[in-house]
Amino acid sequence: MYGWTGNILRIDLSHRIYKKESFDEKFALKWVGGRGFALKILWDELKPGIDPLGPENKLIIAVGPIAGIPAPNTGKTVVAAKSPLTGGYGDGNLGTRVTDQMRKAGYDVIIIEGKADNPTYLYIEDDKVEFLPASEIWGKGTYETQDWLYTRYGKGAGLLTIGQGGENLNLYAMIRSLEGRAGGRPGIGAVMGSKKLKAIVVKGSKPIPQADPEGMKKLGTEDLRKVQQIDRETGWSIQGTTGVLAWCNEVAALPVRNMRKTFHPEAWKIDGERLNAARVATYGCPNCTMRCGITILDHEGHKSELDYENIGMLGSNLEIFELDQVASLNYLCDDYGIDTISAGGTLAFYADAIDHGAIEGDFRFGDAEKAKELLRLAALRDGKLGNMLANGSLRMAREIGHGSEAYAMQVKGLEISAYNCKFIPGMALAYGTSPIGAHHKESWVITFEIKQTERGSYGPEKAAKVIELQRIRGGLFEFIVACRFPWIELGWDVKNYAIYFNKITGLNWTVEDFWKVADRIYSLMKFFWVREFPNWNRQMDYPPMVWFDPTNADKEGPIAGKILELDKYDRLLDYYYEQRGWDKRGIPTLKTAQELDLIEEATEVQKFTKLE
């Protein structure tokens, strides 16, 4: 078997033991890697209903066959667990040196189980694992933690760390690496913190098994150069993802004021142009020639690496239009190790709830200094307010009541990222059906929708596009494990990834083979949710009700008076379910399970709900 090391490293923190296990070709071909491996392992090994922050939950770190091989942009690793924020399947990916180091150490997957007695970090070097005391770094931010580890293990080591957010079980704590890389939005950092695991250091020295290493090296290096050339010609990385802010502002899709508004006259102050002009450094992931981490100095003088989601959710959505202050909020989130999207969404919800009299408080939109203080409270779970904020907008809304759940901007408990879908039905569907809760990474249909369809339409072509993009973005790139940007931003043909895959594995797959794996993974992710929530219904795939509320329609601008319509959204969901082979509740049918080779999994899920 080429392309996979064939090894899983299983680490038990409770008993301070570890062992190397192997997986066979059948498992590799069925689930490929990354998200596929993580999902299948969590499905097989977790008992339904377990406490996500208890020792029974497992933290999975997984890479795929192309991860770490020099080729366009293969420096990503998937981190996954049962999510403490949503209660369902949770994962994310991040750029990190762990990617190639764990492959070189001889593993495709690391499973971390149990719970350490005291703060611990793991040092993994090839076949050896050390359980080391983390008392000196427990309580520290991710930057200081990384520096401490770099001093001991060198800059080339792969590091994954959590900050105070993960330690204190903030439900949207993430795992961090490198200058500004973070992954695992649905609280995967809190799962790591619940295990008293502060950091993981990985070093490896073995070759990654490949069918044609010389051919792949030549092709991958050439293609990295070609991608760099296209990036230079198009100028994409001058603003990277941050260019999208000015565009969203023009087409009334920007999150402003807890997504109450869709554009703002001051948005230009925090846009990609201003950000690029303020740039002091550029960072990125390993194996990438289109580095998109624009770094500026924040209000306090720290280097802060920003992308579109950061400026959208911590800037416009909080009506904070001072770029250095937005950078400060972003730096704090990165240092505490909490998700900028959920942090921005939760703070915006809090300000909105105060505005609507649902809760008393002195936080107002636009107040950057107070926002900094609230991030500290949330990261440390300091006091009653800190605890509420640390739980995310949905739980907070349920606690304070007064109808505020309607404007907690989340799906399945995960805060909506920076696209305001007040009048963008297909993108609302993408959020509604994202398998980890609202996230743009699964499917990004907004430009297709605005350019090629009637914006306010709800036809089957929109459902088809959401699925097509989910197969590529949430499927392919999450299981071979690579960054999607060369494809989506520079038009780098998705077929190239089949070529890499075949060179590495010696197989002869086409992209259609990838789509089948992607569909299998999407259906199993749904089974995972259904097993946790046996009364599953289609309402779980609805966006927040405020998007259907006519009184919330824009009063001016390009979408004045327009709003989503629930009966039509339901029809769109039907199209989506039909095309996926799922029933009216949004659950895969038995026939679909059969076609996707998920019979064993269907039998398991039938213990909880009847399949059609």
């Binding site: 100028g235 999208v244 565009w247 023009e250 087409v251 009334a252 950061n310 914006r455 940007f485």
Partner: protein, 75 residues
């Protein structure tokens, strides 16, 4: 007639400006503007006129706001 052109992302550096009012012959189309600005129309892009997507052949009117953006995927 006068039309405000707003460029997004990399197009700013190609054309050398971010936003400006340009003078056009009455009846000028979207493609005419892209040609005038010397932007590479073979690259995927999206043009909106007063917030709504438009075809290259669409004629502009005095006072329009035209936004020309490459296709983006976000963060």
């Amino acid at each position: 007639m006068k039309v405000t052109v707003k460029l997004i992302g990399p197009f700013i550096y190609k054309a050398g400006f971010s936003e400006k009012v340009i003078d056009l012959e009455p009846g000028a189309t979207v493609s005419k503007v892209i040609l005038t600005l010397n932007l590479d129309s073979s690259r995927p892009h999206i043009v909106t006129r007063n917030g709504r997507a438009v075809a290259p052949t669409e004629q502009l009117e005095d006072g329009d706001r035209l936004v020309i953006a490459p296709i983006y995927s976000g963060g």
